[in-house]
Amino acid sequence: MFISRYLYLRRFTNMDNWTFGITMIIVGMGGTVLTLWILSLLMSFLRKIFPYAKEEK
């Protein structure tokens, strides 16, 4: 199992710059947008569960 994981990762380690760059653009940009989108949904949800009360002023 460890050997197959090692060989699997080795394929990526030796990947060419073109593949690496495109992967980083797609997964990096996509991952950042997706994560922040999920966070924005969660924060909207939290705002609904814990609404602002006037006395907090």
């Binding site: 699997y8 990762l9 080795r10 990526f12 380690t13 990947m15 710059n17 073109w18 690496f20 760059g21 495109i22 992967t23 980083m24 653009i25 997964v27 990096g28 940009m29 991952g31 950042t32 947008v33 994560t35 922040l36 989108w37 999920i38 966070l39 924005s40 949904l41 969660l42 924060m43 909207s44 939290l46 705002r47 814990f50 609404p51 602002y52 009360a53 907090e56």
Partner: protein, 379 residues
């Protein structure tokens, strides 16, 4: 007797004799950094120690960066261990109010778009022949976030630390000059005058308190390699919002941040030894850093335009430019730019929301990037 005198005199001029051609140039660079910090007020708390460190390390035979040199000790204790940028992050978290962002969580997405320059510049650096990890460190200049850039570079391409840090801090402070022409070029007059109304200030204390916890847990699970960055900034913010550890909050944003900034600055300056710094590579890094910030701004504004369409014209695309981590400079630039076209248009608080979104976004982008690298077995 005469020989002894000559040897003694030789000791006094050895510093001059051993000077490499690059050392005087770097001393001038150090003086320019000091000038920019003192006279032009460009990030003085960092540029002054960086400039001074740069001068110190370019004086030959002093051995400040040798094995037992005091700068080497500081460098190894705080930069190689990544401790300094993380401690700075606790202070940043304690200083930041995420309220404007929580008023309108959709704006979070602008903080993501403002990081696209990181990935595009990374690809550009790869195309120019940098190694994968060097390209990652150059791309991170686009985070517009000094501590993040230092954290990533010191870990994966320490040989570029001086150039990347100087680029990150200089361009961050040049945001008021870099951003406006791009914002003007990419938006129409109708878009510039969109009034987003006033921010209501209606976020409960519980939501503000839960925000750093949610970001830490969720962000950490998605991108565990970036948890040190996320965790420290959110720890600072949690301490500020919980309100029961005001001594710790004050210490984080004052004493700790100040001491660490001094040590961080001087040890970054110490990496600017002329023999390794004065290369064509440094010049390319400075150019790529500039490109990264231009791309961030352009992508932010374009994403703002997309959000304007999706929300039926409720979002002013100018605030997209504030989706970077240069806080609060970028938000002020948006406010100033918006008021050029409509004096009664107050975009500041909306832009502050995008700007704090950019702070979380830059850290998240770095975290995502590190986790992808780990997933691919590159680190």
């Amino acid at each position: 007797m005469l020989e002894a005198i000559l040897n003694g005199l030789n000791g006094l001029v050895a510093g001059f004799l051993y000077m490499h051609w690059s050392n005087p140039i770097m001393i001038v660079v150090g003086l320019i950094l000091l000038y920019l910090g003192i006279k032009k007020d460009i990030e003085p708390v960092l540029l002054v120690p960086i400039g001074f460190g740069c001068i110190l390390v370019n004086i030959p035979l002093a051995g400040l960066m040798d094995k037992d040199g005091f700068l080497r000790i500081i460098y190894e204790a705080g930069i190689l261990t990544e401790l300094f940028p993380l401690l700075i992050f606790v202070g940043i978290g304690a200083m930041t109010d995420f309220g404007p962002l929580l008023e309108n969580p959709k704006i979070f997405l602008l903080g993501a778009a403002g990081q696209f320059g990181i990935f595009l510049t990374l690809a550009l650096a790869l195309a120019l022949g940098f190694t994968k990890l060097q390209a990652v460190s150059i791309g991170i200049i686009g985070a517009c976030d000094g501590p993040t850039a230092i954290y990533v570079t010191s870990k994966y391409a320490p040989e570029l630390l001086g150039a990347v840090s100087v680029a990150a801090y200089c361009y961050m402070s040049l945001v008021p000059i870099i951003q406006p022409p791009i914002m003007r070029a990419l938006t129409t007059k109708e878009e510039k005058v969109i009034n987003m109304g006033t921010v209501k200030k209606s976020v409960s204390k519980t939501t503000k308190l839960l925000f750093p916890l949610v970001v830490t847990i969720l962000g950490g699970l998605i991108a565990p390699k970036g948890l040190p960055l996320l965790g420290t900034i959110m720890l600072g913010n949690f301490m500020k919002e919980c309100g029961v550890v005001s001594r710790l909050t004050r210490a984080s944003e004052n004493e700790i941040a100040n001491i660490v900034t001094l040590l961080l600055g001087i040890s970054i300056g110490a990496t600017m030894d002329g023999k390794v710094f004065l290369t064509s590579q440094t010049l390319i890094i400075l150019i790529l850093g500039f490109v990264a910030i231009c791309l961030d701004t352009a992508c932010g504004v374009m994403f703002g335009k997309l959000m304007k369409v999706l929300t039926g014209g409720k979002i002013n695309p100018l605030i997209g430019a504030a989706g970077i981590s240069a806080y609060p400079m970028s938000a002020r630039v948006v406010q100033k730019e918006g008021q050029k076209y409509d004096k009664k248009n107050y975009l500041l608080m909306h832009a502050m929301g995008a700007n704090t979104g950019g702070q979380v976004g830059s850290v998240m982008a770095a975290a995502v990037m590190l986790s992808i690298l780990k997933g691919m077995g590159v680190i």
